[in-house]
Amino acid sequence: MTTKKLQYERPVIQKLNTGVMNKFGTKTEYSPVTHIENNSVKELINKFGSPLFVISEKTIRDTYHSANRAFKNRYPKVQFAWSYKTNYVNAVCNVFHQEGSWAEVVSGFEYNKALGNGVPGNKIIFNGPDKREEELLLAINNDSLIHIDHLDELYLIKELANETNHRPRVAIRVNMDTGVYPMWDRFGFNYENGQAWDAINKIMLNDKMDLVGLHCHIGTFMLAPSAYGIAAGKLSELALAIKKKYKKNIQYIDMGGGFASKNTLKGSYLQGVDTSPTFDQFAESITTAILNAGFTENELPLLILETGRAMIDDAGYLLGTVISNKRLSDGRRATIMDFGVNILFTSFWYDHKISPAQEFGQHTEDAVLYGPLCMNIDVIRENITLPPLMRNDHVVVHTVGAYNMTQWMQFIALRPAIVMIDTQNVAHVIRNRETLNSIQGDEVMPTHLKDFKL
């Protein structure tokens, strides 16, 4: 008769330290996450490889509905535009477009991506400081909304307007003091020192282009909804001043993006889920400022929002696998994962929530989580409390949907596949794992370097 063996767990011993307890109690982030929307983490990794990005279509749609509801309950004319730079995997973009989002792009590359996805040219907002001549011409001919960043661009558009039958539809990007530090003043024209008004005058006095909107993007990972209220108030004042001086209604006010997601910034005492404002708080601040600015009911401008991070971050997961455990010289546990800062760029900014993907006992260890790169900066978490992970165990990194799939670096390894779980809980590959050819397919070898003898 054979006896059934017990599940093995690595032996651990931890010194008990007396000290000041965290007033919120002990951390519980090591609760196992074995499934993502009915898909077993282990099976996903077996099928699609590790590491693996997983995106929940349902979470994207739910988040969009929540944001849309928060603004539309408070303001009659609201339009979201999907911020391509936050995540421009086409399947992700199309979920937002299916929900009604326009496209907000910041480069010619992104502009062409939006066109390729089928977004009509007049529903593409073209932001950013680097718009090439041919890209601007394309945008003008497509009736896209061009948000002018600097005077050089304004004068270039003037020149281009003479070459085409289309009247460029433009807005200016306005930077301003909203009471937060640091103040973003490198993009667009300043409100307080009169630059913005100068640019407006130059556009209004030109008979070849139409000023249709005012835009701002006051910061990123903003935790103060009141700053948006100040910005919306200042843009509204500008719009009303334009109406007074030029008898022209501004069609839209674009508040940009920057809403914080539920991630926890490094050095933050409280968890992001407890501190990040809700969509309702941002919506209340923005819409109150516009509604109280003095527009008549018919003159109320369309409110455009380019929210990226807060829309997609929650929908993204990164699944990974333990490569090894080791002990550092000072006795700390170090665990090496098969994903590093090359594909989890946001670990430079956040203490990402990381959960084991299998059941564990009640004992935990404090550890440092390293990535697999041969670089000292490759640290995923400087300190984290996790159960004793073993080689080949899996983990789930939460809230990684924003920026990682656009800012990831191809460094010494191939980038992983991306899978989207649809609303019926079926997993689809939406970007294949890279191959050697993905990287060196565009390389060219000069003839004299083709051969060598060793």
Partner: protein
């Protein structure tokens, strides 16, 4: 490798060193290894017992036990002068 004789170990995994006042917590398998060390069991005997009871392989246990013993030593719970009995 021997555990200090005066180390107290509770059934719930609480470890107390009366000489320093330090206290520790260990998991079930850690507790069993400490008990076996207190009973004077050799490394080989401990390995055999663990492999018989738990779903693991020899290499995994060797790595983990090496780390565990190092941590016991780092926490000054072992008699450093005594040689390991094999």
């Amino acid at each position: 490798m021997k555990i200090k004789k005066n180390i107290a170990l509770s059934d719930s995994g609480f470890v107390f060193d009366p000489a320093t006042g330090d206290s520790f917590t260990t998991n079930l398998i850690g507790m069993e290894i400490i008990k076996m060390l207190k009973d004077g069991k050799s490394h080989q005997e401990i390995k055999t017992a663990v492999l018989k009871k738990y779903l693991t392989d020899e290499a995994t246990f060797e790595k983990d036990n090496y780390d565990f013993i190092n941590m016991l030593t780092k926490h000054r719970l072992t008699d450093g002068d005594e040689k390991e009995k094999d």
